[in-house]
């Protein structure tokens, strides 16, 4: 049986960590799952013409930081897991729009059954109940989305 994939987009924020914890608690009830922790960074390279108008690209250092963030998130989830049938994979995604990249990732291979994410990330106003990325993912995703508050 192919394990069902749960996509957990992370950015290290409090609500994103709450989402990690919730995902771990959920799969600990049983069943075969793959938890895919993913984080989105701007593309490392852009086509020349695109790069002229949209200068935001990631350096190698940005990518390393993102990989470290993924490692920590995966570690936190692993530490909570009591179900041996769960695997945790890390996925660094490059994309200009975080929400779009997350939704694309959820459609990859057609196995993602669920997205679990924090209500708001590190950017923007701290008082917002629902951040822009969470809101866009809610709008665009075809699978169920669980929003967890930090």
């Amino acid at each position: 049986m192919i394990p069902t994939t749960i996509l957990v987009p992370v950015d290290g924020s409090a609500s994103s960590q709450a989402a990690e914890l919730f995902a771990a608690e959920l799969v600990n009830h049983g069943g075969r799952f793959e938890i895919e922790v993913a984080t989105v960074i701007p593309p490392r390279t852009l086509p020349y013409r695109r790069a002229m108008v949209l200068a935001r690209t990631s350096s190698e250092e940005d990518a390393h930081r993102a990989e470290e963030l993924l490692r920590q998130a995966a570690g936190r989830i692993q530490a909570q897991l009591t179900n041996d049938d769960v695997t945790v994979v890390e996925q660094l995604v490059e994309g200009e729009s975080p929400a779009e990249a997350i939704v694309q990732e959820s459609l990859e291979d057609g196995t993602c059954k669920l997205i679990i994410m924090g209500s708001r990330g590190r950017g923007g106003f701290g008082s917002l109940a629902l951040g822009s990325v969470s809101q866009q993912v809610l709008f665009e995703a075809s699978c169920p989305v669980i929003i967890v508050k930090g």
């Binding site: 608690e25 959920l26 049983g30 989305v145 669980i146 508050k149």
Partner: protein, 161 residues
């Protein structure tokens, strides 16, 4: 935070049915979980143009609301019974299913209140939009308000295209 109790607000709409199925799958996975189905009947604010001494008018926070009729509450109960059947058939025997009709001026307010009642739930599962409003909206007003107001995690489920 372990979601052993899942609150599923339903109005019998397509997305709500998808939410019921998803909640049932989750509950089935978790084993000894409880699915609490609630259907909120929105009360209509009637202002002071009607005789508020009439039997079916109730005053809430200084405003007059028309209480629902017996037919309305029976219809709401039937929606819940159909939902309970769907949940039971998906979730299997280990899952407890309860139903509740609530009458309130604000459906979202009633859902959040129910989620935070003494029988607190670990998760709310609801459709992206209900029966009312514009069919083209991706996220309906009640779902939006619940997302903003609820303390517990909220799962938003869409009807499969």
């Amino acid at each position: 935070m372990v979601p052993s109790s899942i609150l599923v607000p339903t109005d019998g709409s397509g997305p709500a049915k998808a939410a019921e199925v998803f909640a049932a799958e989750l509950a089935g996975l978790m084993g000894n979980a409880e699915v609490r189905l609630i259907n909120v009947i929105p009360m209509t604010c009637v202002g002071d143009i009607v005789d508020y001494t009439a039997e079916n008018v109730v005053k809430i926070k200084g405003l007059n609301y028309r209480a629902c009729t017996l037919e309305e509450s029976e219809a709401a109960q039937r929606v819940l019974e159909a939902a309970a059947e769907r949940v039971k058939s998906v979730a299997g025997p280990g899952v407890e299913v309860s139903t509740k009709v609530v009458e309130a001026p604000s459906p979202a307010g009633a859902i959040v209140e129910e989620a935070q009642s003494e029988r607190a739930c670990g998760l709310i599962v609801m459709g992206n939009r209900g029966l009312g409003g514009f069919g083209s909206l991706v996220l309906g007003s009640v779902s939006t308000q619940v997302l903003h107001g609820a303390q517990c995690p909220v799962a938003i489920v869409k009807e499969e295209a």
